[in-house]
Structure formats: C-alpha cells, structure tokens
Amino acid sequence: MNRRSLQIGLAWLALVAAGLGLGVLPASNSLRNASSDIQRARSALEAASDRPAALERNEATLAGLRAFAEANSKLIPTEGDIAEFVRGLVTYLDRIGVQDRSIATGTPARENDILAAPMTLTMTSDFLGVFATLEHVESLPRLVRVSRLKLELRPDGTLRADMALDVLFGAEEIAAADAKGATP
C-alpha cells in the first residue's frame, strides 16, 4: 500500500465518519427519540381513553344532581337575614288579616354545619289563616324548619297557634371556617 492509497483510505474514513456523525447519527437519534415519545404519548392516551366517556357520565350525573337538588331541596343562605324574614312574615300576616300575633326570635345556635335561629310565632286566627301561614313558611324559597306546632280551639271558634320555627343559614361560612380549621 503506497502513501497515496493510505491518504485516500483515511480520507474515505473521514468522509464516512463525517457522514455518520453529522447526518446519520443525529437523524437516527431524532428518530429514536420521536419513536419513544410517540410510544409514551400513545400509552398516556390509551390510559386516558375512558375520560371522554367519564366526563359525559359525570356531566349527566351533575345535571341530574342539580335537577334533583332544585326539585327536592331549598336554599340555606349564607346570611341569616332574620330581619328580612320577619318583615316578610309580618307583611304576609297583615295581608291575610292576622292581627293578633307575636313573634319572638332567639340567638342562633350551631347545628351540625349550619346555624339555626330559633323563632316563635304565636297567632290567633281561623283555621284557614293558620294553615295559610304554615303553608307560607313551608313554601319559602329558603329553608325554614317548623319544629313544633300547637293548635288550640278557643271558645270563640278561632284557633290559637304556637309555632316554633328554625331559620337556617350560614352553611358556607361554617364549612369554610371548618375547612380553615382543618388545614394545618
């Protein structure tokens, strides 16, 4: 082997090395990386393939829950608004002509995760007046619980009614306070 052949051989090796180093190997690495990324993405997508169906199912459940809540439950407001409640009740009693009545309110007490403001309503009226008042209280958009009821027929034919009510409120505030207390 003469010197010229050696030079050519070295040049050829340099050409092959340059070709592999600059062209083939980076392309091969890029291909390998892309393939493994594709593999990972496919696995992730496969694992998440039930998500659209789960979303659909959960959205249907949520819609059902909301419809159920709307039909079967009432608002428990954050604020008590007792004064507003009493004002509404008095206005209603005036409208149906119940003049002989007294309303007393007590201090709100915690009951599980809400507050219950006790209230007593004593009134004298005919049966329809008492029934209408009870119906009014029970059909309010907010939750007012009738906890006790006593009706007595008076000699003049009217009814004396004692109602114990609980005006419920403060659920979010208490839930937030509980959550804050639970956080370390």
């Binding site: 050519i8 040049a11 050409l15 092959v16 070709g19 592999l20 600059l22 062209g23 083939v24 392309a27 091969s28 890029s30 291909l31 892309a34 393939s35 990324d37 594709i38 993405a41 496919r42 992730a44 997508l45 998440a48 998500r51 659209p52 789960a54 979303l55 199912r57 959960n58 959205e59 459940t61 949520l62 829950l65 909301r66 159920f68 809540a69 079967n72 439950s73 009432k74 428990i76 009951e111 599980n112 995760d113 809400i114 219950a116 029934f131 009870l134 119906e135 029970e138 939750l143 619980r145 009738v146 906890s147 006790r148 009821l149 006593k150 009706l151 007595e152 027929l153 659920a171 839930a175």
Partner: protein
C-alpha cells in the same frame, strides 16, 4: 501469431492508469457520500414523519388534558352539590306540617272536630358522638265526636295511613255536648322521620355515580 505488442508510450499508459485510479477514488467517495446522504435523508424523513405523528398525538393529549381538567371541575361541582344536599337532608324536616294537617283533615269523619293538635319533635342520636336529629314527630290530637264509632273511624284511618305509626287512643270519655251526649277523645301517634329522609335516600345513587373515578 506473435504476442501482442504494447505500442502505447509508457507516459501515456501511466496517465491512463492514474485517470482510472482517480475515477475509482471519485466513484468510491461519490458512492459513499451518496449512501451516507441517502441514509441520512431517509432517517431524517422518517424522523420528520414521526414528529408529525407526535405532534398529532400531543394535540390529542392536550384535548385529553382539557377533558381531565373539565372532569375534575365537574367532580368538584358534584361533590359541592352533594355536600349541599347532605346538609339540607340533615337540616330539613322530611315531612311538611301542612301535609300532616291535610292528611288528618282528610281522615276525620264529618261529625268529628278537633279541639287541639300538637306536633313536637323527638330528637334521636343516630350513633354515639353524632349530633341529635329529629327521629320522629309526636302528634297529639284532642277532639270531640258524637260516638266512639267516629273516633274508631278516625283511628282506623290513621292506622291505615303510612304516614302515621303507633296510633293510640289515650282517652275517650263521655261528655255532654249542649243538649246531647258526646265523646271527648285524645289520640297520639308518631310520624317517623328517619325512613322519610327521601333526599338522603334518593341521592345515594347519584353519590355513587358522582364519586366514581
């Protein structure tokens, strides 16, 4: 025949040899270059195709990530809704007092009239350490009836009605009512609340569904 004679001058022959050698070297280098470029190009094209595929998959993954986020938000909303319903179920009285009065009114024979009615809650503790809830309503009725038959009709009606339980006649005694004899009576019964917490029962299925992962 004599052996062929090389008439080409030596310098010319050497030049031809050198040209052939150059051609071979050029062919070797050109061929090697072409192979390397071809291979590299093929690999680059394949990688580009993979990247296009990867980018499509990444777009899909992004959509799935959005779905996952929405799913989490839906789950949180469902949890909040359930918490609100649970709170309501604990706080509300499952039986309307108006309904109770309407049912009692409907069961009373024409000739019977009530003189008093009281409904009071009976608090119960579901388990040790839990808050007390209204387990039942105790109802007491007093009234007057012409005979025991009407009282029995009222009591039978109450017993037959699923709203009432433990219907008991506390007393029924004779009492003059104006110019004729009548009966004054007292009846007590219970209205069970625990089994009527419909909200709690009805959303149990939703609860199972909503918490499904």
């Amino acid at each position: 025949m004599s052996d062929s004679m090389d008439l080409m001058p030596a310098a010319c022959r050497a030049r031809l040899r050198s040209r052939n050698a150059s051609r071979r070297v050029a062919l070797l280098f050109g061929g090697t270059g072409a192979v390397v470029i071809g291979l590299s190009l093929t690999l680059h094209l394949a990688a580009a195709a993979r990247r296009v595929e990867l980018s499509r998959l990444q777009r899909e993954a992004k959509i799935h990530a959005d779905i996952a986020q929405r799913l989490e938000s839906v789950r949180q909303s469902a949890e909040a809704e359930l918490a609100s319903l649970r709170r309501y179920a604990r706080a509300a009285t499952p039986v309307s007092f108006c309904d109770v009065m309407t049912v009692v009114g409907g069961l009373m024979p024409e000739s019977v009239s009530l003189t008093s009615l009281s409904i009071t809650p009976r608090l119960e503790r579901a388990a040790r350490g839990t808050a007390r809830v209204v387990g039942a309503l105790n109802m007491e009725l007093s009234g007057i009836a012409p005979t025991d038959l009407e009282i029995a009709t009222l009591v039978a009606g109450m017993e037959a009605n699923p709203l009432f339980a433990r219907v008991t006649i506390e007393h029924a005694r004779a009492q003059p009512l104006g110019d004729r004899e009548g009966r004054v009576f007292g009846v007590t019964c219970e209205i069970d609340m625990t089994s009527r917490r419909v909200v709690a029962d009805a959303f149990a299925d939703y609860e199972k569904d909503a918490l499904k992962k």
